[in-house]
Symmetry: D3
Subunit: 336 residues, 6 copies
């Protein structure tokens, strides 16, 4: 693809209400209130890397939160001109970050949101895709409502038709699928319009029905066979040792080569929410801008690892910072 | 009534998300997160005065916010054993406090809340009213949904049948009436089961259709005639000079006497939300415990005035503090 | 025992003034002000697990801190109706949390507290024990004054007489014993009325005079022989690698079986204060509700480990959360 | 002018380091860190009103503060594509807000800033002015260095040549004029390229050498005569009763009519910094969009008054909010 | 006196635990923790004015709070070399600041403090007074214990003997007098060694038994007659309109002239605690350094007024700031 | 040397503006504002250990930050009477603390600071050195300007002449050397007046041109030969595993013995800034007060390790705390 073209991401943006530090929710009467949403996080991550990105979402009309949310995207350089304003609530989620043996906890409150009410026709894809080269979605949007699933499919179809690269992250949220279908019913259909899928061992099984007993190469190969429209399968491997300590690596298979990234131990996790989104941003960046698939994969893992040191949903790492980690392996020496 | 019997209040409790200090909403990424709701505020205000109070509401099942909210009521000594847990969201509201010429701003997000979904039958009133002497509701609950309006009416009817005193605050929120009827359709019906109504010049007109051209005594007299089941009409008079400075007084008419409270200037408002609820608590306390109507009215106005100095939804004034204001008129001398 | 009966805990509650985060005391002019006290922490921990618990303490009369403190217990569902109000100060402690090689530091300021002034007769135990099945005390109360030691003994004697299970935690604070006797003089007497003692290798030696050279089974056996009234001896093993990283496990001996819990590494300690109290809550829960001693011991260790991830004195873990840790071993995966 | 054309503002942006609340500087070790600068404040104020605005400034290269500052402008919808990155420091100012008889205090630290080092040629004005209709500057930029004064003059000259309306605010900072000339030397020259000047009684005298003994109409008339290129003179009248309470009004003279705005008492000032900038934004809006000069003047005064209720440098008032104040006079009633 | 000689102040220093902003005590789990104490506040106020001051107090040994407290005095330039370390607690007080009709509330917790336990002989006055010209005490120290009263008297006697000017502030705290005597028993004795007394209409009556029906001149004259050792009587007149708004003025009588200061309205009180201490500091400064009594009195009133704008116990006003208020009357114009 | 004599340190003090917690700079609009500077940190560290220390620096005149900064030094007992007030800015630095693989980041803004403008003659060394036994400098001061380098050399020369021990820390900041020379040009000259140099493997090479292929003993020996005026070479070994986890040890060579300290793993770094300065303070303390070089070296490493647990620039460890770590090795057990 033409790497000068912009990346379009599509998905819900929520108000994120996090308990401060390691507190339990409302242990004290304060919440850290920012915005977040998997696909928008990807757009922001890309923008920090200097890639032109535009986010498409549906936000409630006449709600000051919508204006603040759009402002936040603009702050980080993400295009917001294709955002649709409509009826419905402003979705939100509550977050407790966990520590040690206590897992992070997320409580969604997105029923009746503007995005959940959106349907095909609400977004006019053609003009959006005109100067775009890439379209990125995730499993979350189809999960929230039947109409949102239809709208996602609509977007993917038109993106393919417009010649865009289409990537889909299977970041599975099983509690969201309440509208009648489940992930296994819907997501395989979306794979027909997907070039690059990002998943992990568990989601490949649960969402796409592909399993391979822990052999990652067998899993990617099998996926490529089962879903012949896929060009590339990327798997992340998060080894959850505790809420504070994870291992991280990733692998990629384009049908020709099976590549593996360096392995990282992230020993003092600041925030793991958004780690996979940072990976997606790094992967898209790498595939667009870096000379080899191996470099793209390493770049994606490195930026995902850095995300675990940054509070909030967003990757805020610059190109220099990612390359610096790739170079020195993360010794954490003071930069003066 | 038997003043040893408890007061039962009924209405929605919400998460209250307030911008810190005088900031605009999300001007900084922090929110002060407490709980509030007009009728529960009354129960808490009463509990601080040593009156036994129990709050009835419907909260979402399997939601940690519900547990925290119940804990908050318990903290302040309010009975929670009759709270119903059910499906639906946990309603919330956003608050900007304003200053000077900039008004406070409230943004409700309570559609689809557990209380909005509640309907007659969800609350079993008889056991609740067994050791109760007073039932307090407000215009807010009927406003949020048809079924909630029905449930309110159901409660009031049974309260009257059980011999309770019934009070209703007409704290009109015109933006909440979205379910088909409006206040003027519904509230007059509720007046049949109401002993004491608390309103102001504007709500008497808009909600109950009674107006008297600024003559407060004419207004209360006319109200008592129009709604013959009413025993007492109480009007508060908030003179909004700015978001930071209000005048406050109240009047009461029991058909025999028309009484007026002292007038206060509240020159440095800390928070005006909950002022009317504090008044209701003070009024119920006064009517239950104080020897004369005039004393009850003065007590109610004094506690309402004190509420304007306390952040959050709740009155936190003790008997001693209210009596101290009644005695010295609010000179603000240090208590050591 | 009848597991429907409530648990009664007895001990001082203090205002806890903690330096924020990892700051040294008053490094900045802010303190995090909550309440805490070993035995009340046990009651709150039990209440989070759904066990009915009531805390007995002596708090200063006419002190708004007492009201706030009682409110905090009520918030968490702990019974407060047997709390005695009396003369004396409201005790407090200052806390610095430490990190790495720097240990946490606690500075007590509890001289002259209402609890230190309390004496036999101030608490009327019989009505308190009427619907109770368990009485829990710790070595802290006897440490603070001769009269508090007498009152503790009085409570234990009457609890035994009323047929309650009596547990005692030897959480030794050597700096508190300033009133003339030391732990070794007093605590052995209390063991006559104790069914279950919780200690560790060091406190068994210092407080009860039982040592066994690091052989835990020998130590529990020897303890049971030395103190024949004891039915069960429980030892926790905290391996303090640093202020930020501890190992944790526990063992239990009922004279028949010597059982050991799973071992945990707690690598990113948020707060270790209250870890032992959470263990006690888990142990009491387990012994009351779980089918086997081994399950009770595992439950107690798991909830103690989780406490290390939660700021403040209190365990805030629910049954589901403890069981989830017992099941997955603490991988810290996001709960959505 | 064509009201669809954008407004271009020009001036330094600084990091603003404010003591929290009413604290003295560094009384506690915290600072509220935002961005601000008189002319950028005007652009942001305009953007909140829906007017297309673009800010021109010079920011240090390779400095993360520059990126954050640009992000902040983008957040609020201000165009940043013409910002120049160059060498030099990132200027800053410290702020103590004052209260009652204690005045606010500002401490500038902008020597050697990128803007102070900027000179004619660093900004390419022609493309910037292509789709612009208005150019706004203030007395601050000429004050900081000789080269910045030259660059300002250069911009104004070219703006006039390109047919833009040029406005200049005489917000005099006498302590900034350290480079050899003083305001009276420089500003009269700039008046040759100014259509609309905003000043007050004191600055007209000190900066432009026009005085009229307190007669505002005489003052505006005299100014128009002395500086014949001026089309309109606008004077604000801040009556400083204390740091917490100011009176506010304004007058305008276009040579034909002398108009006066309503007078306001701002009794509980949250922040007075940025009040004049909000006025400028309101004035530009009004002159571009409102049918009469009187309405423009009233709009400007109203938004200036509202600014005093908002913390930070920026006006954050929307059109609706300003019109609502114009309509109800600022009663501060809750907006729900 | 020789104005180069230092001022010695004597009294207890406490940890001051204040609820943030206008919150009620422990409404949220945070306290602002600073130090304060009437007489030390005077020393700090003097040090900000460039006067050499040394504070004498008794602080607990082996308590990190003592070190921090001494550090705080040193920070502000107050001499600490004569502070005695001894046994006893570190006294503290809780503060709620109030607003409008709600008064500030102070809760002392200073029983058993090191100062309360101090007795004559614990402080060696002679070396302390060697290079001193002024000794300042207040009614608070005699109030806390019999031995502290004796130690105060001891200090005053020796100060007189050493030729120092002795001033005493009658800042009456009636709740502190719990040790058997009351103010009226003790303070008249201290007046024998007092040159300058600072009181108000109420304390002159309650503490010294002098009343004059609201005629301030009569009151000062009568006081000078009743207590012939007094050289000067100074009265402050705080008109408490509310917790947020006070009037302030003062008068002084040296037996020859009766002088009155300008009257101030303090309309937006930030903190009134420490206002009287600031006055004392200003008065001592004025009497030492200014040419006339009238100027001294005006200076004292001005610095007291400024203190109401500053959070915390301490006056932090500089000479320039006080003179600036004396000059412009407190218009609150921004100082840039 | 006479260990009763004071230690004099010399270097710039800056305002330190740190992003809170693990946030990126200005991710939220708050900064933690304290003071810091390598050499002043050494003085404060010494003062906490009970060693008399005085800091010499040049601060801007008529700047309230200078007063606050001096107050901070005084707070910690450091002598400030030799601080020079002059023209120039108050230098500052921005700090992001990093975590895991993300390194801490420091951004200096010290150009044009009062210290950078200082030159020989501005500090009168003789009276300063009169009762001093030790003079400590670092490579930072020579780095900031030619005149500051000259002033440093001037001080060292006179210190040697006055018989003081002179130590120099090579804490190399390569980005500061912008004035024409680089470290290798300047620092070797300073070594002629240095008794004890503290460096590490990298700075010995870059700054002094001595390398030894990772053999630390060879490196110290070679350094002593290359710079024959040096009496002792001390090297710290920080093993940067990540921003959160470092190894730490040190070695010392006095030409006779090559000594190595214990090795520490610092697994949960709170703040690494100031670690080397704490080491210097510990080393100076040890060399002045402890009987053997080995004990001095161990003391220095222990206090450096403890510094990593304390937020801010300053070591705040007491003698007891360092000795406690030396004794128990850092188990982190609660100190009650």
């Amino acid at each position: 693809m033409n790497s000068a073209k912009k990346v379009v991401t599509f998905g819900e943006l929520m108000l994120r209400l996090a308990a401060p530090g390691t507190e339990r929710l409302l242990q004290t009467p304060r919440l850290v209130a920012t915005f977040g949403g998997s696909e928008a996080n990807v757009a922001i991550g890309l923008s920090f890397l200097g890639v032109s990105a535009s986010h498409v979402t549906v936000l409630p009309d006449q709600n000051p939160l919508s204006d603040m949310c759009i402002g936040e995207l603009r702050h980080h350089g993400v295009g917001t001109s294709d955002i649709v304003r409509s009826s419905g609530r402003f979705g939100l989620y509550y977050l407790e970050s966990g520590a040690n043996q206590r897992p992070p906890r997320i409580l969604y409150d997105r029923e009746g949101s503007a995005m959940a009410l959106a349907k095909p026709g609400d977004v006019h894809w053609e003009p959006i895709f005109q100067d775009a080269g890439w379209f990125h979605v995730s499993e979350i949007t189809p999960a929230i409502s039947a109409s949102a699933a239809d709208l996602t499919l609509d977007g993917m179809r038109r993106a393919k038709k417009s010649g865009l690269m289409v990537s889909c992250d299977l970041n599975h949220r099983k509690n969201l699928w309440k509208w009648g279908s489940d992930a296994r019913d819907v997501m395989p259909v979306l794979m027909k319009y997907t070039d690059i899928v990002v998943g992990n061992r568990e989601t490949m099984d649960v969402v796409l029905g592909v399993a391979a007993n822990g052999d990652f190469k067998a899993l990617t190969r099998k996926s490529l066979k089962t879903y012949p429209n896929l060009k590339t399968v990327v798997l992340t491997r998060r080894e959850s040792r505790s809420a504070s300590h994870n291992g991280w690596s990733a692998c990629l298979d384009d049908g020709k080569k099976f590549l593996e990234s360096r392995h990282y131990e992230i020993t003092h996790i600041v925030e793991r929410v958004g780690g996979g989104d940072a990976f997606d941003a790094g992967l898209i960046y790498g595939l667009m801008k870096l000379p080899t698939l191996q470099e793209a994969l390493e770049f994606a893992s490195a930026i995902a690892v850095l995300k675990h040191s940054i509070p909030g949903d967003f990757s805020r790492s610059t190109l220099e910072e990612v390359h610096s980690l790739l170079k020195d392996g993360g010794t954490g020496k003071v930069q003066r």
